[in-house]
């Protein structure tokens, strides 16, 4: 069968401050009619650039230097405007940003229909409602008049899908369609995309960094690295018999339900020796006890005479204990209260009621504003989710790491501070020559290391890790996870690891707490929770994680 889309020896160059940079090097792949092709790679691999070239949305600074794109046997150059929407359409990474915030969603769908003369003024609304029904939005008659801010992220992505499918295109490009969505929402969204495109016999080009998702929803996978296509194979073959070392590295680095921490960076080609994991036994001493913790946020609304609405309970009476040296996973979807809980324990927020007994002392006694100046401050530290945002853009890496040393440890002497900063940088594997750089000159993994070095600078007893790897590429995530594991054993710290990804949590934590709507729904060892979940919510959460299991693929 003739391919629907053919990308042939495509090279793209971008003009930048440092001259022209080659983003794609003779990239070639095909999408057959009705086929779902996954384009997989880490950031900077050129997967999005390829997609934007196909649909003709390439940035002004970009330029095709070689090759081209053919759609249905004819080159697309110059015809992208007529192809866009009717033949090829796209769903984007951030659905809320891709929708016009001041226009009801129904009107945005109607606009597309009218633009392509598929609906007139009279029937546009009815057709928009019909499309919303097809993407399984409840009460489409009401939702058609909603604005994007009134809808959840998952619903916005459904609206985007309705928009993309409005003109019955034959090719759908999905550019990381579920980043920023919870796993259960991700599963619902991707199942919907799969069902709708399959029913219409559409081809899909799914761009993702998540190998598990690619394995679950694609027929064939194209692996890209630094602007090159390194491997292209049917799903089962790619996962059971990866040919290229980069593919092998990627597969090894993606944590699955059974992978071991040491294997993540092992790969098949170059096994890295790592100390055999010592049995982790929590010490006998109790480090932390959280008792009936409640955090309420006032709700908006209620006029001068109206009754005040009941406050929103983000954390609803939770309690747990932690031993010294133990590491505990706090798992749940967005809005479940795990971040609020962790920031209360880190004393960045005040609780409404309850107690947090740390090392024999109730630290909630002191308001969070005063806690910064207390000696206990250095005992509890935190690594933030967004390493870039957590570093002051005007401070170099060395200055960022030195900050807690100066303020908490009371190191005043410049030489002593420098010595300790160098020592910390070495511990986290940050090359010394990078210490003078500013955050925007560092890569994601390097910034994560700076954040970790800063957090361990004061020798904390408890380190709170708030999704420290969620913004990192899988291969970098693997290295950072191993680093965290090594630091914990070397320094004898306890971890509270906050994450939505059970597979990652399992690698670092022996015990897991699953939270939903501010309450603890399940606790147990990581293996128990992941492989034999008891609570219905946990079961839903576990089953939504996209997997690739060579055994399962081989069987199918």
């Amino acid at each position: 069968m003739a391919p629907l889309l053919k990308v042939e020896t495509l090279s793209i160059a971008f003009r930048t401050r440092k001259g022209e940079v080659q983003a794609l090097h003779e990239v070639g792949f095909e999408v057959a009619p009705g086929e779902v092709v996954g384009v997989v790679g880490e950031s900077g691999s050129g997967k999005s650039v390829s997609a934007y070239t196909v649909i003709g949305l390439l940035d002004q600074a970009g330029r095709i230097t070689h090759g081209g794109v053919e759609y249905d046997g004819k080159p697309v150059a110059g015809r992208q405007r007529e192809l866009r929407g009717r033949e090829i359409s796209m769903i984007f990474q951030n659905p809320r940003a891709a929708l016009n915030p001041i226009m009801p969603v129904g009107q945005q769908i109607a606009d597309v229909l009218k633009r392509h003369a598929l609906a007139g003024r009279t029937d546009a609304r009815a057709k928009a409602i019909d499309l919303l029904r097809q993407v399984k939005i409840n009460d489409p008659e009401e939702r058609v008049d909603s604005y994007p801010f009134e809808l959840s992220g998952g619903m916005c992505q459904r609206v985007m899908i309705a928009l993309a499918l409005a003109c019955s295109p034959r090719l759908l490009i999905a550019d990381e369609p579920t980043t920023g969505l919870d796993v259960t929402t991700q599963k619902a969204t991707m199942d919907l995309v799969r069902d709708l495109t399959r029913a219409r016999g559409m081809s899909v080009m799914l761009i993702t960094h998540d190998l598990g998702m690619a394995a679950e929803y694609c027929d064939r996978i194209v692996v890209m690295e630094k602007g090159h296509v390194v491997e292209s194979a049917p799903v089962a073959q790619l996962f059971t018999d990866p040919q290229h070392p980069y593919t092998q590295k990627l597969i090894a680095a993606s944590p699955g339900p059974r992978s071991q921490l040491a294997e993540l960076t092992g790969g098949i080609a170059a096994p890295v020796s790592i100390a055999p994991p010592r049995p982790r036994e929590p010490g006998p001493e109790r480090l932390l006890e959280v008792v009936d913790l409640v955090k309420e946020f006032p709700r908006r609304g209620g006029g001068v005479f109206g009754k005040k609405p009941a406050p929103f309970r983000a954390v609803d009476g939770i309690g747990f204990q932690m031993m010294r040296g133990e590491s505990l996973g706090l798992v749940g979807e967005s809005g479940c209260g795990k971040s609020t809980t962790s920031s209360i324990i880190a004393r960045l927020q005040d609780a409404t009621s309850g107690a947090v007994v740390f090392d024999g002392q109730d630290i909630l006694q002191h308001p969070s504003a005063r806690f910064a100046r207390m000696p206990e401050r250095g005992r509890i530290q935190m690594v933030f989710q967004d390493a870039h945002d957590s570093l002051d853009p005007r401070w170099s890496a060395a200055e960022a790491i030195a900050q807690p040393l100066r303020r908490i440890s009371g190191l005043r002497e410049a030489a002593a501070v420098t010595r300790r900063v160098d020592e910390l940088a070495e511990m986290v594997g940050l090359p010394a020559n990078l210490l003078s750089r500013y955050p925007h000159q560092l890569s994601g993994g390097q910034k994560a290391r700076v954040g970790i070095a800063r957090a361990i600078a004061t020798d904390p007893l408890l380190l709170i890790l708030d999704e420290p790897t969620s913004a990192l590429d899988v291969s970098v995530q693997a290295v950072v996870l191993q680093l965290l594991d090594r630091l914990r054993r070397d320094l004898g710290m306890s971890y509270i690891f906050v994450s939505h990804d059970l597979n990652v949590v399992r690698l670092l934590c022996e015990r897991v707490i699953v939270m939903n709507r501010g309450r603890i729904v399940e606790t147990g060892t990581a293996e128990e929770v992941l492989h034999a979940p008891r609570d219905a919510y946990t079961q839903k959460l576990v089953s939504a994680i996209p997997h690739f299991e060579p055994e399962r693929l081989r069987a199918s």
């Binding site: 960045l348 935190m382 989710q385 570093l391 853009p393 960022a400 908490i408 500013y438 925007h440 957090a455």
Partner: protein, 280 residues
């Protein structure tokens, strides 16, 4: 080395900035060495020489009292730039302190500071400045205070908005974890990060401040004759334009225009210099 590379980048990104800084350098030289480089005494009157058109001896001509216009334009730079710079510095310091505090604390602090700046904005600004100088007394010092007061709301608003969006940034939380008090966070984390947009505000404001000072002098407030000041010179020369002696008003007016122009050009370059994410 790094400083040179940074300067070269700033210059190559903003070619107009070079013109701005060049003009600024000329004005600074005029302000510092004014009396030394002026060819004549700016206050010396010679009745026989009155209202001479531009010539080799007097490139900008002479005024109604026979004073050399070129010398007066040069010497006036010190007074005009002095008023503008001190007024802008004053409103920058007070305005950014109030704005940062309002943005960081929120709540009542924010409301009080916000209403204060709204109140200032509610007056026609130039009329407010006139009122301040008229009630407090007709001195150069009061012209500075008046100019500072009317520029205050712009600094408050920029600082407040920029701090408010960064108040919960990760690096602020991290600083808190590192044992920094609120005041330290404000001073070491937030204030430096709101500097780049403030720089643009400063350079635009310098232009306005010069115009404002000149405007006050033009209507007879603030600087008084015989002191050389661009606004007064334009005011004095204006009545001679009808009778054909255009040079009296044109040259000080042109100096005024160039000064405002040069500050506006400098804005982007200044921002790029204080922002590390833009210089590397």
């Amino acid at each position: 080395m790094a400083a040179i590379a940074r300067l070269r980048y700033t210059v190559s990104e903003n070619p107009l900035t070079v013109i701005g800084f060049g003009l600024f350098a000329v004005f600074v030289i005029m302000a510092v060495f004014g009396p030394a480089i002026a060819p004549y005494d700016p206050l010396a009157t010679r009745a026989v020489n009155a209202l001479q058109p531009p010539s080799m001896a007097h490139p900008f001509g002479t005024d109604h009292l026979g004073r050399d216009v070129l010398s007066r334009v040069i010497v006036a730079a010190r007074l005009d730039l002095g008023i503008a710079l001190s007024a802008v510095m004053l409103s920058f310091v007070v305005g950014s302190a109030l704005g940062c505090l309002a943005g960081f604390r929120g709540g009542w602090t924010d409301r009080i500071v916000g209403r204060l700046s709204d109140t200032i904005m509610a007056f026609p600004l130039f009329v407010l400045a006139m009122g301040v100088v008229a009630t407090m007394g007709n001195t150069v010092q009061n012209v500075i205070y008046a100019t500072a007061v009317i520029n205050l709301p712009f600094y408050i608003r920029v600082a407040r908005a920029e701090v408010a969006v960064r108040r919960n940034a990760g690096y602020v939380q991290a600083a808190r974890l590192s044992g920094s008090s609120d005041l330290r966070i404000l001073a070491t984390q937030l204030f430096p990060n709101v500097l780049p947009p403030m720089m643009v505000q400063i350079s635009l404001n310098l232009g306005w401040a010069i115009l404002n000072a000149a405007g006050l002098s033009f209507i007879g407030l603030g600087v008084r004759p015989p002191a050389a000041e661009w606004g007064i010179m334009v005011a004095e020369g204006a009545s001679y334009i009808v009778s054909g002696e255009w040079w009296l008003a044109l040259f000080p007016g042109a100096a005024l225009m160039l000064a405002v122009f040069c500050f506006n050009l400098m804005g982007d370059g200044l921002r790029d210099m204080v922002d590390p994410t833009r210089r590397t």
